[in-house]
Amino acid sequence: MAFQGYLLPPDGENWSGLRDYRAHGGYAAAEKALREMKPEEIQNLVKASGLRGRGGAGFSTGMKWSFMPADNVRPRYIACNADESEPGTFKDRQILERNPHLLIEGLLIAAIANHVDAAYVYVRGEYRTAYENLSAAIAEARAAGLLGPSVLGSGIGFEVYVHRGAGAYICGEETGLMESLEGRKGQPRKRPPFPAISGLWRRPTTINNVETMSHVPHIVRNGADWFKAIGTEKSTGTTIFGVSGHVMRPGTFELPLGTPLRDIIFEHAGGLRPGRTLKAVIPGGVSMPVLTAETAMQVTMDHDNLQKNGTLLGTGAIIVMDDTACMVRAALVIARFFRHESCGQCTQCREGTGWLHKLLVQVENGTARASDLDTIDEVGKFMEARTICALSDAAAWGTGYFLRRFRPEFEAHVEHGGCPLAGTSFEV
């Protein structure tokens, strides 16, 4: 029997109405947290569950919450990251559109645990349906007394506001998001101070991803041991994997962390197109190092295993490429993306992303020299670990590992004076 997840309604169903959500046990966990648990208890429970952030970095959620100052400095905020923009990622959208009360309940529990006054959900500007469904759910929750000056008569006040972004990838970076929410360009801030001390409007702020918050009600309801029984020792619970690219049934699949990548591609996503063979897989969105088919067939989708195999889980966004795909073109599209999205603050990133893109255009169209391949490597190294945020590193990894792991194909472009796969490959 297929694995049953807990984050989304069954296919074809939508629980965005409060009645539907309540009919499936909704808000029982929030009531329990409100009436039976102390804030520290909730924090400890989430820490004990091993929940790690689902937005890409994989940091312990309970640990992040524990950085919030212990004294009751008010006001303090939650910034909820719904600026889902990592190419290949389309999972948070499922929650926002089809189960938004789960997110609201998670935010409410997080607010109780962290003495928070208000949450701002930063939804990417293009997500129209997500914005509308979440806004409607918040209005319903407020009317039902689940949000407002005294949540369910407890005397604890909590509000959730939705804030629309305007198309900039960098606003998914935690401090870029805060700048943007305050009405500025989304240029990341230097740290320290970290958001827990000085976040939104310089107040204590915890920033958490949509999916991360959506696990919290289930952990409160079922306990840390239940959550730890799903997944692996250090990657607990499920996640919503998004599969795109050259598979028969692309889509989202909620599965335990640690599921073999081979099973996700060949069972859940229906395998490759007839007659094709696997060439490359990006396991966690385009920021993460690409895997060769050989490695991809051996890995399991959890933090430890992927790290051991030279990549990272990221957002669990799996992009599959078969033997028709040109690896230079794939790297080129990724370089073009990062060039477009660099916020321009740091020299290494602003100049490096443009340089990488230009070099890859030349490799693809056959005007590059053999030495240009080494230059790509060097530029990438100069972009790593030197900037205010990780976009620069992501650009270097997202493109550089294509060269490192598929170098003969890059060399063939230089020797041929163009793309040897031009007849079959996707176009850019």
């Binding site: 923009s85 190419p87 389309f90 959208r93 900039a168």
Partner: protein, 191 residues
């Protein structure tokens, strides 16, 4: 007055959500675009700055930073095709070419009648239903095919014609007033 009274009132009504007025800027710019046919005319910028109590240059900085804001007129139907990796793997480049042919414009341009503009965009977060396209700020058009494109263009032309007819009817009607929200204002576009 560059900003309508209605828009001003909506912006002011947002202030209580935030500790600072300027936090409403991104939202306000979305509303200006919606009200003014998909772009931000220069005369609205000083008004917004004054309303939010920030310098004009900071409004301009924000507009130029975010890809969803346009400082030039766009088509009545602004088509954005995702050309990031998952959509390219699913044939997005061919779709852009087909649209350019169908609309007789290049990506980045507005058609002469101001009806359509076409742009390539970065990942829209719909990779499981690639290739994907967004019209204005409407819900996505997913799993797009070249045949589907032709239908889409025809549907959009028909919607525009229907909205114009409704507007004309209300203009010539007994009250002589414009039905609110009958149609998006048409922008001059290309010429």
């Amino acid at each position: 007055m560059a900003l309508s009274d209605e828009l001003r009132a909506r912006v002011v009504a947002e202030f209580p959500k935030y500790p600072e007025k300027r936090a409403v800027l991104l939202t306000a710019l979305h509303w200006v675009q919606a009200e003014r046919g998909g772009w931000i005319p220069p005369d609205t910028i000083p008004d917004l700055a004054e309303l939010l109590e920030i310098p004009v240059i900071e409004v301009e900085e924000v507009i130029s930073f975010y890809p969803m804001y346009s400082v030039e007129p766009v088509g009545r139907w602004h088509l954005q095709v995702c050309t990031n990796l998952p959509c390219c793997l699913a044939g997005a480049r061919g779709l852009v070419r087909a649209l350019e042919h169908e609309l007789d414009i290049c990506a980045g341009e507005v058609s002469e009648d101001g009806m359509f503009s076409l742009r390539e965009t970065e990942c829209l977060g719909s990779c499981g239903t690639a290739p994907v396209l967004q019209v204005n700020n409407e819900p996505y058009v997913e799993c797009l095919t070249e045949g589907g494109l032709v239908d889409l263009i025809a549907r959009l032309r028909a919607r525009a014609a229907a909205a114009d007819a409704a507007q004309t009817a209300s203009k010539t009607g007994a009250s002589g007033t414009l039905a609110p929200g009958a149609a998006r204002p048409l922008n001059g576009g290309g010429s």
